[in-house]
Symmetry: C2
Subunit: 272 residues, 2 copies
């Protein structure tokens, strides 16, 4: 693990990342020794820093650190954390804090081909996502909602849980974004009130447009979910996972365009 | 600073407190070398651990550590943080994590008598509190909403900002609870959707009942706020601070019962 560029394993207990969750993170797939979708991850991180008024890391330095941390590894995942840095007591950010930068390589589970071909089993979580437009979209460090949602089940055959907001809108998975296909049209939830704007979700929206697959960003109701032709979730590590069963209801995988799937599983795992 | 009972300043970067804000904290006033309202702070901390399924710290051990950390100091503040401890990547809490326990003494500002007699200037924040019944009431480490709200103003004459939820209900200050007095009745917001159940707020509710001051826990609208006879905020460090001006509107302090104020500024700063 690299902390502010040096091999280390510890941070100051006064770091505002610990004290308040005052920071951001990125989870990046490593393939053939390269960080996949680097430019998109970097853009989201820098945009998050801007929204939280955290001094952004130097992009070139961070890129170098990512490669240093990958070392000789070919596959895996790099998690980057950027916090506002150590601070004094109290919520008010001081103007002179020095951000903390953590770059950490981890092994990632190999996902069997079967998951992509047969789909996953998912469930609907009871833990809700709170509305906060000021934080919506950000991949910030306040993740107790996801921790509680992911604590709801222990059955290892269930791979993901979908979360709703207080108005029963379906927003995302605990660690993925959601896509709903109805009448050959792709829908993905509006994330202006809550949720994380996924890097893979962004790529899927772009690729759908390139492939002339109709795509709509809008509110998704429970009714939209249950009447969908097909469902899938996405994130930077998995690409696309079709959902074959949600809380006991079975879904066909047939409405997911092969071309979209193939393009994402290719372009989603390149360093671009 | 004591970390798991030992003098230290650093925690593992893999700690879930940093990774996800997966933990709780308490801020305790120290007076005459004693932790004020210890039993109430401990109760809230243990109840928070139970709600988040974090193994609770041993109460006697924690109490010893608080005194060890206070040392020869007479005044100040002790901040306790309890996290789920270091973990592997992913939101799911592992069953075998060992919680992290941080006890840290800090100097606290002396509040001039004038603040209590003349009241403070407050403002209404634009950052909202998201609803999450599963987290409401807890003093957890996901505090970005408070960080953003406290970042909204730099004028040092403004001592507190009040926060609303998405439905324009007034919930609390960035680091205090709110009381509204109307027709000799005390109102304090219902915190079942969002907000922190303050230890001092709890004491005020009890003392009001003992003093036969009518007290209601209910939703508080902006209209309730602007038409209040008097307003005050509370927390463990300040006790009670009357609000003499809110976003430009002046408020009388006359409706705040002297007996309530005197009792809180006495009983709120004892070790009981």
């Amino acid at each position: 693990m690299l902390i502010n560029g040096k091999a280390d394993t510890q941070i100051a207990a006064t770091d505002r990342g610990l004290q308040f969750g005052d920071g951001l993170f990125e989870t990046i797939a490593i393939k053939d020794g390269q960080p996949c979708l680097w430019r998109r991850h970097l853009d989201r991180l820098l945009s998050g820093c801007s929204r939280l008024a955290i001094t952004p890391p130097d992009a070139d330095q961070l890129y170098d650190e990512v490669f240093k941390e990958i070392g000789e590894e070919k596959q895996g995942v790099i998690k980057i954390i950027v916090t506002r840095g150590p601070g004094k007591r109290g919520y008010r950010p001081q103007s002179n804090t020095t951000p903390t930068r953590i770059v950490n390589w981890n092994r990632s589970p190999a996902f069997p081909d079967q998951v992509y071909q047969r789909g996953i089993i998912a469930r609907l979580c009871s833990t809700r996502l709170g509305w906060n437009p000021a934080l919506a979209g950000l991949k910030h460090l306040n993740r107790l909602e996801q921790v509680l949602a992911r604590s709801e089940w222990h059955d290892p055959s269930i791979q993901e849980g979908l979360m709703m907001d207080a108005a029963d809108r379906v927003i995302e998975g605990t660690s993925s974004n959601l896509f709903v296909i109805q009448n050959d049209k792709l829908h993905t939830p509006d994330l202006s009130r809550c949720g994380v704007a996924g890097v893979m979700q962004g790529l899927i929206i772009e690729v759908a447009e390139e492939l002339d697959i109709p795509i709509v960003v809008s509110d998704i109701s429970l009714h939209d979910l249950w009447t969908a032709d097909s469902l899938f979730v996405s994130n930077s590590l998995i690409g696309i996972w079709p959902i074959r069963e949600l809380s006991g209801q079975e879904f066909s995988l047939d409405a997911i365009p092969d071309k979209l799937m193939d393009t994402i599983l290719d372009r989603g795992f390149r360093n671009e």
